[in-house]
Amino acid sequence: MSAINVTGLRKTYGSLVAVDDLSFEVRAGEVYALLGHNGAGKSTTIEILEGHRQRTSGEVSVLGLDPGRGGRELRDRIGIVLQTSGIEPELTIREAVGLYGSCYRRTRPIDEVVAMVGLEEKVDHRIGSLSGGQRRRIDLALGIVGRPDLVFLDEPTTGFDAAARRRSWDLVRSLCADGTTVLLTTHYLDEAEQLADRVGVMVNGSMVAEGTPDELIGAAPATVVSFVLPPDSDRGALTAALPGLGPLAAGENGRVDFRSSTPTADLHAITSWALEQGIELHSLSVHRPSLEDVFLQLSTSEQTTNGEPEDIG
């Protein structure tokens, strides 16, 4: 059974199309990441699924209910971590968790929730006195206090330091171990790579690619080879000697990056040439493309075909 089903979703603000014919499915128990630049339509999509916005057209089902009129029944079974939402700064963490928890049918004990987000030491501090990262963790706490079947995380770790990010990744993983479904939006590729069972890449309101992180990376054609040429060496000579390599991206300080579909042969040619010339290639590396490379490739090619994205602000 699927936790979320979206078919032909469309959302327009006047002449602006924020979400355009979007379709995807999130299976029960899976972590699904919507990945995209700011303004790609991720937050609009997630807010429609949460019931915060009405869609223009299309079919949407969340836990079998229509979020447009899911009401109390639906909101009891979902947890929402919004990108922009406040908490009463006058309350302590204990008071806030207790208060927000009191309106759910299946409330988690306060101490358990606070421990899950690692705020035990601050539990009796006023929220107004906490740092941005700590407040974000309270956002997470309030998102899970009702034992939700489905959690929406809209850019959940923005503003976190590295340790806090790893901790909330662990929290998300422990949630899925409980069978909780998670839909998250992020523009951190490592976050999607770390957490998501499947990733959907959104550009200009449409889905341009979807799959597991490995599938997306595997679909990218080429391995990346990069190295630094010594300052006095001749890049032209390299290109002339190895015409098979095709165009080489010229980086700063003599750095060369190129994509290769035959890395073994190309690497052999390059290193042979370098030995012949008596040149040491610094920082020589061969690596599979990261999700970031794939993402950048997808989003730039999509934007080129669509022309300049309009400024809607």
Binding site: N38, D76, G86, I87, L91, L99, R106, G313
Partner: protein
Amino acid sequence: MSGSFPSTAGLIVAQIRYQLLLFVRVPVGVFFTLALPLIMLVIFNALFGDVTVMTDGGEWPMRQFYTGALAVFAAVSATYTNLANMVPIRRDEGVLKRWRGTPLPTSVYVAGAVGSSVVIAAVGVVIMLGLGVVAYGLEVQADKLPAAIVTFVVGVAAFAALGMAVAALVPSASAASAVANATILPLAFVSNVFVAIQDPPRWLALIGDIFPLKPFVTSFQDAFNPLVEAPAFNWPELGFIALWGVGGAFVAVTRFRWEPSAGGTTRRRRARTPASS
């Protein structure tokens, strides 16, 4: 495994308690709502308490006039001014949007905000009347208490509704505080709150008469005016106040917003400008 939702009554009580907790933790709100009318009562009585005042009912001591007037002013501060200020602040903070995403029925949230303001109003009125009785010879007559209570209930209900209407209409918290104070303070001057206006210019009397504050003040004062006989119900005034309340409630219900205006979404949309092109 699903069980049932917590009872609505229990949720409302929890919400009122929590709103009261928030209220006492914002010192500036406590000062303007409860302390300031009390300070005014003490100062006004020190300055003018011994003179008598002529109103429609006849001549009576100023200190009794002020006690009733400033008790109403405290009640209006607790409901109208307090809600018109605090609800937009919570909206701008994103607190309202967060509550909207929980299974708490939105009507319960509103009931908690309004209910807590009525509790604060009652506390304010009781403190004022208590001081009036102890220090200024205010006579509380049992047979006029029902009129005082009904007037209080109708008045705070109407001004709470009007506070919610202002909260619904203003774009932001900073605008809300300006609008709330700019409406209630001048109106208080022409509504027998700070000064007992005798033979006012026609236009000034008219302004006092078309807004609900003066009817609230005079009806409540009548319940403590020795010249007015029991039961002291002013039904036409109460009906007039209630009408304003119904209008306010209509605006509040039809125009209420849970999210900050523009702000968040504009920022997100603006960020769509391509970073690399």
